[in-house]
């Protein structure tokens, strides 16, 4: 079955970009240098100021990917799912929350609410009306390999009409060195809303493959496929 990649965003410390907008300079995690874009983004997330780096980056990447596809209006709820890979999740907030409980302090209910890795998904679901399957899913293998496989299966079995697939990592200050950032892709079951999108094929629960049959085993493979298909944005995305 054909599916269409209609939106993509990458947020890194050094550079950020979306498929259709190209490079988007950032002033910090989830803070766009472009004031208009920042207003547009923070206007959608009223609690933006409360978010930790993990939530800011995740929401910003989803916002950009959906904006790429013209799917960022909250008035368009639908059976869209969101599967998110990553290991540290809300760890930064876990530590911040627990500090509030020490030395006779009062546990912060606001921070506690953000001590789960899937809360960022809930924030995006709330804002963008994501009513499909939404959860954190990681695995051995390529980046977000299991999430790509599961998303492919949801699309192929018509359990969802579109799927966001992402990877998100924000490391606490003292954690061992590792990769940080956010990558989010939007796959749609039909291209009515995504003219000119990259075509891919589902391969059951195995995941996706290119139209030439090359397996897609990670988010990085998708970006390579974008580059190979001549899309202009992807050179900024890797």
């Amino acid at each position: 079955m054909k599916v269409f990649l209609s939106g993509a965003a990458v947020l890194r410390k050094q550079a950020s970009a979306s498929l259709r907008s190209g490079p988007l300079p950032m002033d910090g995690p989830g803070l766009f240098h472009d004031a208009r874009l920042q207003d547009e983004f923070s206007g959608k997330f009223s609690r933006f100021g409360r978010y930790d780096h993990y939530t800011r980056m995740g929401c910003a990447a989803v916002f950009l990917a959906l904006r790429d596809a013209g799917r960022d209006a909250p008035s368009r709820p639908g059976n869209t799912g969101f599967l998110l890979a990553g290991q540290y999740g809300s760890f930064e907030t876990d530590l911040a929350y627990y500090r509030t409980t020490l030395d006779g302090g009062l546990a912060s209910p606001n921070l506690f609410s953000y001590t789960l890795p899937n809360i960022v998904i809930g924030e995006c679901a709330l804002q963008f009306g994501l009513l499909g399957p939404t959860y954190c899913l990681d695995s051995e293998g390529g980046r977000a390999a299991a999430a790509l496989g599961e998303a492919s299966y949801y699309l192929e079995t018509r359990s969802a009409e579109s799927m966001l697939v992402g990877w998100l990592e924000a490391l606490p200050a003292q954690a061992p060195a590792g990769e940080e950032g956010a990558m989010v892709l939007l796959f749609e079951a039909n291209d009515a809303q995504a003219p000119g999108a990259l075509e891919l094929l589902t391969d059951g629960r195995r995941g996706l493959k290119s139209v030439s049959g090359k397996p897609i085993e990670s988010l990085d493979d998708v970006f390579r496929a974008l580059s190979g298909a001549g899309f202009s944005g992807p050179q900024f995305l890797q």
Partner: protein
């Protein structure tokens, strides 16, 4: 599409272990909770939990309590042939690491803190080095979701045997957090009761083995149940509160029914999330009415007895549901005295008999996620 069977399982709760009579204890309306002694709760509004303590000498020096509880039940699955996939579905596996000082602990804390740490550890403990590792997180619906993801892997032919593993303990981290949210009951947890005022936290560990038909035949055991339907949906309403109209849960239930090719009347009993909080239970009753109309049928929650075991809850409750099918009886909902009007004819403080071959199990979690499973009594010659 391969059929999916719930082949075997195990669980540890404060009331009893799975193999040590958990279902019988639930059916006898027993509870496993008491005052919290693991940390100081004297200044909090809630003081009770369903805690398990290790027996002397049981806990290894470098492991946390979560691992100790899991080591009680993992050995049962080690001798099985070719476990192809391990799905880790614990929710707050880093709580004990954080409480021990986290990255600033001196000497460094040896406890696992990432989901991958746990899935790798489970694989090592089992001695199945070829098993692929998957980690899921969906708040309090995590192991229910783990079963749904495992079912996808089996039905699509990607795996023949999936071990869903989850454990969460009553940590200071979680207890103080839920207390700060005013989500803990200061008295008894009373799911679906008019006087319900919050949840009870509990220690829990569970392992559930899902398998394809050929694996079932290879092992030669009678499955506990067939997993015929599963569905996942978000309510897109609030990060910590459920949708009042139950739309996310309704969507998950309908998705599970569709996959199982069933109408709502095909479900004969229902194992609810039933946390005992005002809003969760009201949402579930609303969703039940929306899907099943006013048909009376047995609905129950075990959280008044074993507590809310967070990520482990769905796995434990799926096992209880499978056993309920075999017994033709659902356990009482401990703590129920004055049912909500919408719970009349469904939830009871007594055990309820039923004759249907299908039971539904649902869980909902922070982040708006809802998961529904349908378990069916397997044919006797399935093995």
């Amino acid at each position: 599409m391969s059929e999916v069977f719930l082949l075997d399982g195990a669980a540890e709760t404060a009331l009893a272990s799975w193999d040590g009579g958990l279902f019988a204890a639930l059916a006898a309306n027993k509870g496993g909770f008491g005052p919290v002694t693991r940390f100081d709760a004297s200044k909090l509004t809630a003081h009770s939990a369903a805690c398990l303590e290790p027996v002397p000498g049981e806990r290894r020096e470098t492991e946390n309590l979560t691992q100790t509880l899991l080591r009680r039940i993992l050995p049962k699955f080690a001798p099985l042939p070719d476990i192809e996939t391990i799905v880790w579905a614990g929710v707050k596996g880093n709580a004990e690491f954080v409480e021990a000082g986290g990255f600033q602990a001196d000497p460094p804390c040896p406890f696992p803190f990432l989901p991958r740490d746990y899935s790798l550890w489970v694989r090592d403990e089992l001695g199945h080095p070829k098993a692929g590792l998957v980690e899921v997180s969906a708040a309090c619906a995590s192991s229910t979701l783990g079963l749904a993801v495992g079912a996808d892997l089996i039905s699509s032919g990607m795996s023949r045997s999936v071990l869903v593993v989850a454990a969460d303990i009553v940590s200071r981290f979680s207890f103080l957090g839920f207390n700060a949210l005013n989500a803990l009951s200061p008295g008894a947890c009373r799911p679906f009761d008019k006087a319900r005022d919050g949840l009870l936290l509990g220690d829990g560990a569970t392992v559930v083995l899902l398998a394809a038909g050929d694996y079932v035949r290879k092992v030669g055991r009678q499955p506990l149940a067939r997993l015929s339907g599963w569905g996942v949906a978000n309510d897109a309403t609030h990060i910590t509160a459920p949708a009042r109209d139950g739309r996310g849960l309704i969507a998950a239930i309908n998705s599970a029914l569709k996959r199982a090719h069933l109408e709502p009347r095909g479900i004969g009993a229902f194992c609810a999330h039933g946390t005992g909080t005002v809003y969760n239970d009201a949402m579930e009753l609303t969703a039940l009415d929306a899907v099943f109309g006013d048909r009376p049928f047995p609905v129950f929650s075990i959280k008044g007895a074993v507590g809310h075991t967070l990520g482990a809850a769905g796995g434990i409750e799926a096992l209880v549901s499978a056993r309920a099918l075999v017994e033709g009886l659902v356990p009482p909902t401990l703590g129920l005295e004055h049912p909500e009007p919408k719970a009349h004819g469904r939830v009871s403080g007594e055990a309820q008999k039923f004759s249907s071959k299908r039971i539904m199990k649902t869980n909902s979690g922070f982040g708006g996620v809802n998961v529904a499973l349908i378990l069916e009594e397997p044919e006797r010659n399935e093995a």
